[in-house]
Symmetry: C2
Subunit: 200 residues, 2 copies
């Protein structure tokens, strides 16, 4: 790892927990630079703007999830509907461990950023939309596999997948308002009761 990529990744590493635990507007570039041991001019050598930084942070979170819990949850070896349980459990354990370390439930950074910036920055909104879109596809594929396997009565897999994603985000939102990840544990399993029937 040369000096250049090291500086860049130190910036991202400093920014990640801050954007996650506070908000986009509330985290300043100066603070990130100080924490990363980087001068401001150097920051702007790697990131044209604050928005570009948060995009890189979004990518990092997305990769982390895709290669971690999501890869585990959507393991083809698992029965389809169990994968959904697995993912909800992963969200629960993750939020729980964050709270143990940090003292607070931080929620989903994609949801957090969506509600904060999506009326003000269409480029960020598009970025976040793409993340949700990929998540939805995972759910959809899983639902279709379950239907094909006969584990699940036929339904509108596209809309049901979207409903499940919405539900997961909503549960995390409510849990954050209570600062209590246990809500995810209690409400999570009901995700499988959601159904949108196929249009007649």
């Amino acid at each position: 790892m040369n000096a250049a990529t090291d500086t860049r990744s130190r910036i991202i590493a400093a920014a990640k927990p801050r954007f996650h635990s506070r908000s986009y507007a509330n985290v300043g570039i100066q603070e990130i630079c100080e924490s990363a041991g980087v001068q401001k001019g150097s920051f702007y050598h790697f990131f044209p703007s604050k928005r570009d930084l948060v995009m890189a942070v979004i990518d990092e979170f997305a990769d982390e999830w895709a290669n971690g819990f999501v890869a585990e949850a959507f393991d083809p070896a698992l029965p389809p509907m169990e994968r959904i349980d697995y993912l909800v459990d992963a969200a629960y354990f993750w939020q729980k461990s964050i709270k143990q370390v940090h003292g607070r439930m931080l929620g989903c950074i994609f949801g957090n950023l969506t509600l904060e910036v999506s009326t003000q920055d269409d480029i960020l909104r598009a970025k976040l939309l793409a993340i949700f879109s990929r998540a939805k596809s995972r759910f959809k594929d899983t639902l279709e596999e379950a239907v094909a396997a006969g584990t699940l009565a036929p339904l509108d897999s596209d809309l049901t997948a979207e409903a499940m994603l919405a539900y997961l985000e909503g549960v995390i939102l409510l849990a954050k308002s209570q600062n209590d990840p246990e809500l995810i544990y209690r409400l999570g399993p009901a995700i499988k009761t959601l159904r949108v029937e196929t249009a007649a």
Copy 2:
């Protein structure tokens, strides 16, 4: 209406759409004062801090809803489960009309603020929590009435109510990420499929 309450309410009136359409951090007191035609010193005569202002704004939104759509939706004359449909419809039409006027879907201000500030301000978090708690009670009472009437198979009304509220918030979040209220229309009705069974 004397001058005092008029100034106060003009401040709130100027703040409401701004906090709703942007974010807490992104709206400054100076801007609100200019829009309301009020001097800064006068602002701080009525509101000890920015936080107090946003609390008043939250109260106004809550009252507006409680006396408007919510009162209509939870009309005892309606069959219980239809009340839930009514509320989801109201959310849809509201967001749709906002988009027509404003060009954007603004979402639920309670959800927006929750994700933005609840890790940074426990007093605001408590305020928002109380709003959600009241909303949950409405759902819960309705579910219990439906069960009593035999329209709905017995379930855990407390957790199901919370699940429904979470789902509604999640759907609005996803719709906001797409800047498309139609998603509420498509996903909303599935709220009634949510069930948390009573613990054995």
